[in-house]
Symmetry: C2
Subunit: 514 residues, 2 copies
């Protein structure tokens, strides 16, 4: 009997080892393709692009092929059998679940449809760009209609419980549903609109003229390096470069790179981009090494990932406490430019609320409204309640309703984001969820770390970083967002904390009582 059991275990182990090798191989291809992409965005010569794009295609296709290969299917199938599955350790169990979910998703799309969709997306980026630059939605319309049709088809093929949009949400935020989101977003929307009205009513406009100077780019870089060092970003496991759009890219656990974009007249834009990407990068740098070469070696969800960037960027680095520390750093790099400027002046200036048209430039308050608008539009597109042709009109009505502004053309309205041209439906809610999660984490952090406020004021972020690692980062994707937030805070997602945070912050800056 013992001999037989041993034999079973050996056979199981050999399957597990085989699967791990296959995942490793897949990740090797992904890493190679990712480095080439990084290179393209950080300084590859222009004449390299044509061939390099083909090379990325060849290598990325290999990675995709492995993920949907019969070999992968066989491993998943065998290891999902209860008699095998029950013997696996927790990491392998969670890995199998995730692999199976992705494998099934891909397999449900007929390969000719998938091919057709890939070609459509490749064209759509160009069409969107042209439409945006010519401020003409009709240029993008035919492609967007096809993309939306594909999304509807995928939803049908993948299946769903409850609302069809749930199927898309699940891609980015596992277990999130329309029922939950409707409740969260309706509470949030009402409060944001109300708060926004109160702010406007004060008539106060923070002065931002101090940032209208020109700031030396090399010194801006120095400031970025300083802030990343203070956050605990590990430069031995990453590097910082420049690109047209800032991003964080994990190549392997010892190589998580970030980029920033510098402009002489946009000091704060570069600084807060850096902090934002630094927040993402800290997450990726600190996922437990036990998860290397598993499908769990990434963030729990897009929303949780965004909570990490937003925590550092907004909750920490846009706080008055932070500036008690960082003003000194700023003065060391730009002594002339900020001579005689008070901490409060900087604090008010970087937290100015505006009736913004453009999501990526929005303040912490109006940002949520931008997301809710997109969420409502996407739901309507998937159910068919909204037709693609009507998008510009609906967009403009909604932004007038929520923010009291109307785009002068579609380039600053419905055409502003790249996401839909890349087929990313169901992604936008993650941004708002990130803020909500982050506020819940901060609440808990403040109760766990007695001197939280003092630490922030002193720029001593070591314990804060360790709290994030211990509670969030190290788990990677081995817990769902809901498991994670419940494990940390004892309750599920709850917008209350984010609303409280905003009320407190803006009533203080704009001088009204709550």
């Amino acid at each position: 009997m013992k001999g037989r059991l041993l034999k079973v275990t050996e056979a199981l182990q050999s399957r597990v080892d085989g699967l791990k090798e296959l995942i490793k191989r897949m990740k090797h291809y992904t890493e190679a393709a990712a480095l080439m992409q990084w290179d393209l965005e950080t300084g590859a010569p222009t004449k390299s692009v044509e061939v390099r794009s083909e090379v990325i295609g060849t290598i990325a296709t290999e990675s995709f092929k492995i993920s949907v290969s019969d070999e992968m299917g066989k491993y998943i199938d065998e290891l999902s059998q209860p008699e095998n599955f029950d013997q696996l350790d927790d990491i392998m169990k969670a890995s199998i679940k995730r692999l199976k979910k992705e494998y099934d998703r891909f397999k449900k799309i007929p390969s000719d449809k998938y091919q057709e969709y890939m070609v459509l997306l490749a064209q759509s980026q160009a069409m969107w760009k042209e439409a945006k630059s010519k401020k003409d939605f009709s240029i993008f319309l035919p492609n967007l209609k096809k993309i939306v049709e594909f999304q509807r088809l995928f939803v049908e093929l993948w299946g769903y419980q409850g609302h069809p949009y749930n199927s898309l949400l699940d891609t980015f935020e596992p277990e999130m549903t329309v029922v939950k989101l409707d409740k969260i977003f309706s509470e949030l929307r009402d409060k944001l609109v109300e708060l926004h009205k109160r702010i406007v009513a004060t008539g106060y406009t923070p002065d931002q003229s101090i940032f209208e100077q020109s700031f030396n780019i090399e010194k801006q870089k120095e400031l970025s390096i300083r802030v990343l060092n203070s956050m605990g970003y590990d430069f031995e496991a990453g590097r910082m470069d420049e690109s047209a759009h800032p991003f964080t890219l994990k190549l392997n656990p010892g190589d998580v790179r970030i980029t920033t974009k510098y402009e002489e007249t946009k000091l704060m834009s570069a600084l807060y981009s850096t902090i934002h990407e630094g927040g993402h990068a800290l997450y990726e740098q600190n996922i437990s090494k036990d998860l290397t070469y598993t499908p769990l070696n990434e963030g729990a969800s897009m929303g949780i990932h965004e909570s990490q960037s937003r925590f550092w960027e907004n909750m920490l680095a846009r706080s008055l406490d932070f500036w008690h520390f960082f003003q000194k750093e700023l003065m060391e790099v730009f002594p002339e430019e900020f001579k005689g400027i008070s901490i409060e002046k900087i604090y008010h200036s970087i937290n100015k609320v505006e009736n913004s048209l453009i999501r990526i430039y929005a303040d912490e308050l109006t940002y949520g409204l931008h997301i809710i608008l997109r969420y409502e539009v996407e739901k309507g597109l998937i159910t068919g309640d909204i037709e693609v042709e009507d998008l510009p009109r609906i967009w403009n009505e909604k932004i007038q309703e929520y923010l009291g502004v109307t785009p002068k053309d579609d380039s600053e309205g419905v055409l502003q984001d790249v996401h839909w041209s890349a087929g990313l439906f169901g992604y936008f809610p993650s941004y708002a969820l990130g803020n909500i999660y982050a506020a819940q984490f901060v609440e808990k952090m403040e109760s766990d770390l007695e001197n939280y406020q003092v630490m922030v004021r002193n720029g001593e972020f070591g314990q804060i970083k360790n709290w994030l690692i211990e509670n969030i980062h190290r788990h990677g994707r081995s817990l769902s967002p809901e498991e994670l937030i419940k494990q940390i805070t004892g309750e599920g997602i709850n917008p209350k904390y984010f609303i409280d945070y905003l009320e407190k912050k803006y009533s203080d800056i704009y001088g009204f009582s709550i």
Copy 2:
């Protein structure tokens, strides 16, 4: 009949297309692996290295597997059949020949032997480094013995005509033989030794103190960019970075990168490294696009490649004419540092002849003696006339004989070069051949371009670059070195021109009659 002929042609075309696709695929893997290697050497974070090395291994192995695959073998076999081969165009004919040669070479080594050799090489680099740093040949001895045994084995497996060393030479310099090299090198050696004696006899030592200052690194970079621009290096098809050892790397025809190493006290070292790598890069940037995705899309040989770097570095940029132009550039970047320094002083200083122990720091004259020494040693090792144990003694005897110096330990003697630890036997002669080829090219260039000297004095290198492209670069590897030199100069390789060049140059600088 016509129909049948058409059918044959179609079948043939489909084979040719299939082979091209296979080569393309192989090159895609090579490019991905090369970019990762570039990244490792130009700034990848230290903690990325372990995983990245594995990824490179995975991707490079794929490329190698294709090159020795049954699919490749079948294409080569079919297309080598006279009834097919005769119908191919010249490029495809040359491609098939080259693929067949490499395929046969690899296939002749049993795969377990190849595996063993790869493991040995991987270890040997570390052993060599340790031996060199501890100045102890015995640390490297066991590995070097095994590597030499493998070289002897390969030579037997590959077969050879005449001398066994021919088989190794052919890898780097197609069609070169010991008979030819013995003749060339013996003529060269006698002249170099004689010339060296005459220089020493003058008692003159050019003053190099002007370069003993400290030079700002950013300004050194600016100087490097200036010289590359003047050479016609295409920055849209390449980029310049820093690494511990300068190198040129072709990723694809639109991406040929170079690196330089800067040290504050070594201005000329960085400048001439840049020019050297720039010479290699110009070659790769200007191979005809017709050769893209063929095995001919590289230099004709290592020797011809080296002729291009040496032409720019030595024959052009170490000439008095060049400094008539470049002194102005130097003064614009370093006005204080070179105030009042004459062109002649710079010219003498950068052409100082020394009894060097280290090859890579050797001047143009003694460099050849370093190579001849290695050539004689390698021949002896392959035939068994020299045993590995005796290397330090033989090395020291020869360098005393040729250069009148004795290393104080093996780190500046037999252990100085990395090549043997990497299995590169038969490579060293290319360096000397490069100088010889370059002198022959210059001779022809001067007769083809009436105002050659004026162009150099004015820093107008456009016609010179075009001459190189037209006569050398565009052909890639579609001609053998011998075909190439004969096509250009009407005669085969001949050391006379290089010797004449050296005599003229050094008699002028050191003031003796020839």
